[in-house]
């Protein structure tokens, strides 16, 4: 993968996050603490600024910078998780998008210790990785992520702050799964 297409992906993701900022915050208001939209918007704004300021030479450096920026600008649960996702992708990007995303996903699992069905971003990221590993297209992976997000609606959260709500967390999409679906949608729109 070349830095240009990754930059296009990140740009598009930043755009989508900004557009959906209020929606992400509203979802996080329902079952969390109302900051997910602000968190990711702040993080991706910082990422674009960092990439602009000193454009990394290769894909790995670019992903590393993205991950590091998110870790140091976002905070909360999504900072370390999205940060780890990109940092781990950097180490596997030579193999292409699918293995990179899988490596990132493994990082998210290791960092957050969530399991599928816990009503987290894992529920959007996991299905997307599975589609890509099975040879599916990025567009199909994005659809899987969107379906994964939708599937979080009825779930009772078992990780993150939504878990404090117990049964009351059911009936709302998970904010992190929703932003992850945007991440994959941005990929489908920018990567081949």
């Amino acid at each position: 993968m070349n830095p240009e297409e990754l930059t296009a992906w990140l740009r598009r993701f930043a755009e989508l996050v900004h557009e959906h900022r209020d929606e992400l915050t509203a979802l996080d208001s329902a079952i969390g603490d109302a900051d997910h939209g602000a968190n990711l918007d702040r993080g991706m704004t910082a990422v674009l600024a960092a990439l602009q300021e000193a454009p990394p030479a290769d894909a790995a450096a670019l992903l590393k910078k993205t991950g590091a920026t998110l870790v140091s600008k976002v905070g909360g649960a999504s900072g370390p998780l999205y940060g780890t996702l990109f940092l781990r992708m950097a180490g596997a990007v030579d193999g292409g998008f699918a293995p990179a995303l899988r490596a990132g996903f493994d990082g998210v699992l290791a960092r957050g210790k969530a399991e599928p069905g816990d009503k987290t971003m894992v529920d959007a990221l996991g299905p997307a990785c599975d589609v890509l590993d099975a040879g599916g297209s990025v567009a199909e992976a994005a659809q899987a992520a969107a379906d994964g997000r939708d599937a979080t609606v009825p779930l009772v959260a078992r990780k993150g702050r939504a878990s404090y709500l117990g049964e009351r967390s059911a009936g709302h999409a998970d904010p992190g799964a929703t932003s992850t679906a945007l991440l994959l949608r941005a990929a489908a729109e920018t990567l081949r």
Binding site: D35, A38, S72, G75, G79, K159, R161, S163, L165
Partner: protein, 333 residues
């Protein structure tokens, strides 16, 4: 949204400027958003670092000073600080005796402090031990959840452990004490209103005029259940009963009883609640050894209160009574 702020994006930076100006005895690292003791780092003293999202003032920055914290990291509102902040705080308080991280049990806080500890371990020889506070009985503590939230016990723990560190006790002992305090503390809270995160611009949830939430945390989340508005007497029961049935507080030296305001509840009401809590404890045979009543751990402009009981022994009470000189808690000096 009605708030005495400027741009919502600047609220943490603006408040830290105000804090630095109002408390010249502190040193504020504005770039990293860390509040330090002005007289630190102290050689040979275990450094105590805490922090979390902003919006809980005076916790944690207001608890920096002699006999309590050495540094506090201020995250964005309700967003745990990033690892860089924690690294800066840890390095800034390192007096050669190691550093204790006091972390409230929220996924984000735990992960960011964890990454910071990894970075510190990789970069320097500073020994870091982490203690996670998880005292909220509203949250079922099981293998299938993120565990109990860290709430009111945090304030009491920072005071008590701060006194022990001030005495020069070694890191392992200070960390043990912190775990002991966490084990002995339990909390439960109620909200009459939600709160408004500045960047969100509207209340996190709607709460009808005749309803209240029981089992809330300190981030504006709804609680475990919604109930009709009740007199303080009954509210106190809804808060105290789950605490008493989670841990035995009878016998021994009694408890430190902490009735905390969540930001928009005036002291008048907190004293009304305290009277009811004290009556319930009396009925349950639980002696109150010390008390603390006031807005010490807030949730922005949420109206409501939390009750924390900490089972105390002579050692803890002695440390509680020891001098503390911070903007938020001060006595004995």
């Amino acid at each position: 949204m009605k708030k005495l702020i400027n741009d919502p994006a600047d609220v943490v930076a603006d408040a830290l400027r105000g804090m630095a100006l109002a408390h010249p005895e502190l040193r504020v690292d504005h770039e990293n958003r860390v509040v330090f003791r002005g007289d630190g780092p102290r050689q040979g003293k275990v450094g105590l670092v805490s922090g979390g999202g902003s919006g809980h003032e005076p916790m944690h920055g207001g608890f920096v000073g002699r006999g309590m914290l050495d540094a506090a990291c201020a995250g964005e509102v309700f967003t745990s600080p990033v690892p860089d902040q924690v690294v800066a705080a840890t390095q800034g308080v390192d007096g050669g005796a190691g550093v204790l991280h006091i972390v409230k049990n929220y996924t984000g806080d735990v992960m960011n402090f964890e990454m910071a500890a990894e970075l510190v371990a990789a970069e320097s020889g500073t020994e870091v031990v982490t203690v996670v506070v998880d005292d909220d009985v509203a949250v079922t503590d099981s293998l299938y959840t993120a565990g109990r939230r860290g709430v009111g016990t945090t304030v009491l723990l920072e005071k008590i452990v701060g006194a022990a560190a001030e005495e020069g006790r070694p890191l392992a002992e200070v960390a043990d004490l912190a775990r002991r305090v966490d084990d002995a503390g339990r909390s439960m809270g109620t909200a009459l209103t939600s709160c408004t995160v500045p960047a969100a611009g509207k209340p996190t949830f709607d709460l009808p005029e005749d309803q209240m939430e029981i089992g809330i945390g300190i981030h504006g989340e709804p609680g475990r259940r919604r109930v009709p508005l009740a007199p303080a007497r009954e509210v106190a029961e809804m808060l105290v009963e789950p605490i008493l049935s989670d841990l035995s507080f009878t016998g021994g030296e009694g408890v430190i009883c902490f009735v905390n305001g969540l930001g928009a509840t005036p002291l008048l009401e907190l004293y009304v609640v305290y009277a009811e809590v004290a009556a319930l404890l009396d009925k349950a045979g639980v002696a109150i050894a010390r008390s603390l009543v006031g807005p010490y751990m807030t949730s922005l402009d949420m109206a409501g209160a939390t009750v924390t009981l900490l089972r105390a022994d002579d050692d803890l009470l002695r440390l509680w009574d020891a001098p503390v000189v911070t903007p938020g808690l001060r006595w004995g000096a």
